[in-house]
């Protein structure tokens, strides 16, 4: 069980969170892109062997959606929410 840094509550057990999936590029303007680009955006997510940016929902805590960078090989959190600021 990982320990996830919540920007409001501090480091908390993963069991307090709900996984929110990897961060995709911003949603394109639907009318501005081709069908192929739209479906690619919809169905493809980053899947790196290494750090991935992802979201977690602190559902059994303060309710915030937060973003971290986590290494998929080790589960090490390489950048917490706000670390990059």
């Amino acid at each position: 069980m990982m320990q996830i840094p919540c920007p409001f509550c501090g480091a908390r057990n993963e069991s307090e969170f709900s996984f929110g999936g990897p961060v995709k590029p911003p949603r394109p303007e639907p009318e501005a892109v081709s069908d192929a680009d739209w479906t690619a955006w919809l169905t493809q997510v980053p899947n790196p062997l290494g750090p991935v940016q992802e979201q977690w929902w602190h559902v059994r805590g303060c309710g915030t959606w937060l973003t971290i960078w986590r290494d998929t090989r080790s589960h090490d959190i390489v950048e917490g929410p706000g670390d990059g600021n």
Binding site: E14, F19, A36, T43, Q44, V45, N47, R70, T72, S74
Partner: protein, 417 residues
Amino acid sequence: MKQSYSALSLLRHGINRHTTWAPAWRSPPLKDRYDVIVIGAGGHGLATAYYLAKEYGLTNVAVLERGWLGGGNIARNTITIRSNYMRDASIPFYVKSVALYEEMTRELNFNTMHSKRSMIDVIQNYPMMRDRRRRQHIMDIYGSTYEQISEAEIRSRIPALTGGGPDARLPVVGGYVHTDAAVNRHDAVAWGYARAIDSMGGEIHQQTPVTQLLRGPDGRIKGVETPRGIIRAPKVAIAVSGHTTTLTETVGLKLPLRSMNLTAFVSEPVKPLIDVIVNCPDAGFYLSQSDKGELVLGGAPDPGQSFRRDIKQNVFEDTVAAMLSLFPAFKRLKLMRQWGGHLDIAHDASPIQDETDVPGLFITAGWWGGYKAIPAGGLTLAHLVAKGRPHPLMEPFTISRFRHLDYVMETGTTTAR
């Protein structure tokens, strides 16, 4: 010609203190060119090479394996073979796979210890009963079996299941029996295929990781790069559960896949206790007893993307607590070993088997509970590679479905869906 395996041959070689057994497979020198390269000597890769030779006469084939053959997810799963699916797209494929498994020992002259022992779904919720009821009629169309049984029958067939009584948090309300379900010996499947591939002239190269896919100026695949050198082939098939995108991204190819970690664990070995596969979708676990006596258990997957072969303690504890709710006597039973495996799950949670946008490059991926799919998945991939078009059983599972957002929304019956 391979040495035949039988009780008689054991006796004969026994006289010679077993010094006369030939290798089950060779370690041939690596050539720089093949007709087909299969990446990954796990279950799907080996089955593909086997059917390429057996069904399509393609024997100038190299299976390249990063580690050791049979070391993929075939070495880290819960060996459940079944076909109780819900949709027309899926059921006939799994029915075929179950049938191929049933013939495997004879076909490969290698005892896969296929034990057709039935799976019992133990249901603790009325909506789940409805879901199971829906399956039985459509499964029947494709020759797969599913019979409703009462709570009393469940308890008589699984005497160790003493929890889930009328006052329990989730009382057992009934169940279904899938008599086609089986377990077998996963190592035997890998080794049996490897031996058969070798005898037909195919090659398996272990410790040969592919670091880069190579495309020709025409955009077609032309081979792969490995630490042992460049190997050329006009057709390359990727069967590397979990690492599919790692490979395809070397040619800039993106796929609707993400990699996850699914875990399993075994108890200490105990005397025969449960002779069916027990699946408890409401509680959230499944178990069977291996021939060595260990209870093999699985539960929910780890939600995040992962390439770490470890178990998430919180997910694991959920599974154990669920198991104890139905099998309270197992409190004194002990955990002996646990492990995880990588798999990739497609955007719609159904498999993908297709030629990619890189001509000559094929993938078989997104197998979620892919052990049961090994023989049929190998057969269909071999067809695709040899003929250049999908096998009829795999037509619903092409990549193009994502361009049309025409998803195949199938849910497996195990909790690990």
